[in-house]
């Protein structure tokens, strides 16, 4: 008699157990997804080491350009001969450095085609990215200044000096075409707010 009762109760018990297991699995899955979203992943803490820049990207200006190292000739910083390229002054900090400032410069070409022809349209708050072999450093524009040749020379230590700057980015090109040459420089200063390792890009 007892056997009959037990046999009769088995299907509802099994169904209840299966239902309970199913519910537990669903709750666990939801909890794991939520934890994955909320819990910071370990790889986010991976830092991109400082490195020579390979590419400059100005998403707001739809501009991307290859970066090559350049050197100072006396006190003159001359961008690469190819106006489509950007020059990184090797005497300045590498992108990602904790100290100094990364200085890059590119040509503005009056008839068009220069790597930084659109720089006079950049605005405060826009994003500027520097790509190295190990990842991307994201910057946000803090200021856009137009300085005469004399003003630039007077403020050279502030703009290019390597004893300050905590790794900020300095982008510079020419502006104010007077019909035969350029009268001023446009100087963009941007601070780094994030870095993306290469495999996370």
């Amino acid at each position: 008699m007892a056997d009959r009762t037990s046999t009769a109760d088995s299907p509802p018990r099994l169904a209840a157990a299966a239902s309970g297991l199913w519910t537990a699995l669903v709750v666990l899955a939801v909890a794991m997804v939520a934890a994955g979203l909320l819990w910071p992943s370990g790889s986010a803490a991976v830092e991109v080491p400082p490195g020579a820049p390979q590419r400059l990207e100005l998403p707001g200006l739809n501009t991307k350009a290859r970066v090559v190292p350049i050197r100072l000739k006396g006190e003159v910083l001359d961008p690469p001969r190819n106006p489509r390229e950007i020059g990184w002054w090797v005497g300045s900090a590498k992108p990602g450095s904790a100290q100094g400032q990364t200085v890059v410069t590119g040509h503005t070409v009056h008839t068009g085609g220069g790597s930084l022809n659109k720089l006079d349209h950049i605005e405060k708050g826009q994003e500027v990215d520097i790509v190295t072999k190990d990842g991307t450093f994201q910057h946000q524009v803090d200021s856009v200044e137009v300085l005469s040749r004399t003003e630039l020379a007077d403020q050279a230590q502030r703009i290019f000096g390597q004893d300050h700057g905590d790794g900020r980015l300095v982008i510079i090109t020419c502006t104010d075409w007077n019909g035969s040459s350029y009268d001023s420089n446009i100087v963009v200063l941007a601070h780094r707010f994030n870095s993306l390792p290469k495999n996370k890009e």
């Binding site: 020579a52 090559v68 190292p69 350049i70 050197r71 100072l72 006190e75 003159v76 910083l77 001359d78 961008p79 190819n82 106006p83 002054w89 090797v90 005497g91 200085v103 410069t105 590119g106 040509h107 503005t108 070409v109 009056h110 008839t111 085609g113 220069g114 930084l116 040749r149 630039l152 020379a153 050279a156 230590q157 703009i159 290019f160 000096g161 390597q162 510079i172 090109t173 020419c174 502006t175 075409w177 035969s180 040459s181 350029y182 420089n185």
Partner: protein, 413 residues
């Protein structure tokens, strides 16, 4: 008492020496240094030629440079080994006791990059280095060997014909050897370069060899690649080159030519010609093979990524190749030794920090930052305007021709 006086005198002298040493100018010391030489050739008979060395030093406040960091291939005049290509040699020495250098050679069209970030050159085509011409004019028919191993009776029977056979072979060999003139040994170079960096403690360097190989051009213009050089060579990697493949090709060619020629030379002694021909030819070719034996050994002694280190300093040479003495009998031409891309960094040491009371204030401290940025151009011609104009003209011409044909057809109709 006397001892005390001597001790006091010594103490005073030591103190005076310390004061004198501390007063010596700290700026005289070299804080950092580096140098680079793109190409060096040692030429048989006419001596060495190189692109000069670009050397920089920094005394803690300013960088001084000697030589040129814009070398020209035309400066290597009076040699036939290399005529075109892009040379690079650059170096930097910084105030913070770091230095860097890079140097190398690439084909025309390569882009030069400043020292400090590894490579000096990017892109560009290949350039050929004429390492040596091959000279086989010393090959000889050795008469005493020709009839060795033959039956005594046969040798006796052949005696009247020996001079005739030997003269025939010598006559046949001379034009065949002449035909080998023009064989040359070349090194085909992509971008071959070295770079180094040093700080106040350590120095390191590396070399890259892109698309490079050693080859022989045999008569007729065929190119036989002897060895492809590795792109990223290990430190002091040796590369072996021998000409065994070339020797085989030469002997094969000679066998064919001599066989055809001997048919005529030996016709007066027709009854034994086949056996004799085989015997004489084999003996001759064996003799020639022995004479060519030095070519089976290494012809070029090549070391890639040669590194010479000392504490805090390094010298890296991307490619160092010598024509070995073993092959000298067959290797003519001008080149005896070539080095490509020699970069040296360090040793560096930080400038000693001195405490100076009330340092004088400089009115105009030397600028180490840019004060002028020349980042503007009026126009840039990359050739596209010309191409667009040409295409436009062609389109206009085509349209004109089309319209003319159309009108002509209408009139005929």
């Amino acid at each position: 008492m006397r001892t005390t006086l001597i001790a006091r005198g010594a103490a005073v002298a030591a103190a005076a020496a310390m004061v004198a040493l501390s007063a010596a100018p700290a700026s005289a010391a070299t804080v950092s240094q580096a140098s680079a030489t793109a190409l060096s050739l040692e030429l048989a008979g006419t001596g060495a030629r190189d692109t000069g060395t670009y050397a920089v030093t920094n005394d803690g406040s300013t960088e001084s440079a000697e030589g040129s960091n814009e070398p020209l291939i035309t400066a290597l005049g009076g040699q036939d080994a290399i005529h075109v290509g892009t040379l690079a040699q650059d170096a930097v020495a910084n105030r913070n006791a770091t230095s860097a250098a890079c140097s190398g050679v690439a084909g025309d069209g390569a882009t030069l990059v400043a020292a400090g970030s590894g490579d000096c050159l990017s892109g560009g085509g290949n350039v050929s280095l004429d390492a040596a011409s091959l000279d086989f004019s010393d090959l000889r028919v050795i008469q005493s060997d020709l009839f060795q191993g033959m039956d005594t009776q046969v040798q006796d029977a052949l005696k009247p014909f020996q001079d005739q056979i030997t003269a025939g072979l010598t006559q046949l060999l001379a034009p065949a050897i002449e035909g080998l003139d023009g064989a040359g040994l070349y090194v085909d170079l992509g971008a071959v370069q070295s770079s180094c960096t040093a700080d106040d403690d350590t120095a390191s360097g590396d070399s890259t060899i892109a698309n490079s190989s050693v080859y022989v051009v045999v008569p007729g213009g065929d190119r036989v690649t002897l060895v492809d050089l590795p792109v990223e060579p290990a430190v002091n990697q040796k590369v072996v080159t021998d000409l065994s493949g070339v020797t085989d090709a030469i002997l094969k060619g000679l066998r064919t030519q001599l066989t055809n020629g001997l048919d005529g030379a030996l016709s007066p002694i027709d009854p034994v010609v086949d056996q004799l021909q085989k015997q004489v030819l084999n003996t001759l070719l064996t003799s020639l093979q022995e004479q060519l034996a030095p070519l089976e050994e290494n012809v070029l002694d090549i070391t890639l990524n040669a590194q010479n280190t000392s504490p805090g300093a390094i010298t890296v040479t991307a490619l160092d190749a010598k024509v070995l003495p073993a092959a000298e009998a067959f290797v003519g031409g001008s080149l005896a030794h070539v080095t490509i891309g020699t970069s040296s960094c360090g040793p560096n040491s930080p400038a000693p920090k001195t405490v100076v009371n009330n340092p004088p204030k400089a009115d105009n401290p030397p600028a180490s930052v840019p004060t002028v940025v020349t980042a503007g151009m009026e126009s840039y011609d990359d050739g596209s305007a010309g191409r667009i104009a040409l295409v436009t003209l062609l389109l206009l011409a085509a349209a004109g021709a089309g319209v003319a044909t159309y009108v002509r057809m209408l009139r005929r109709g």
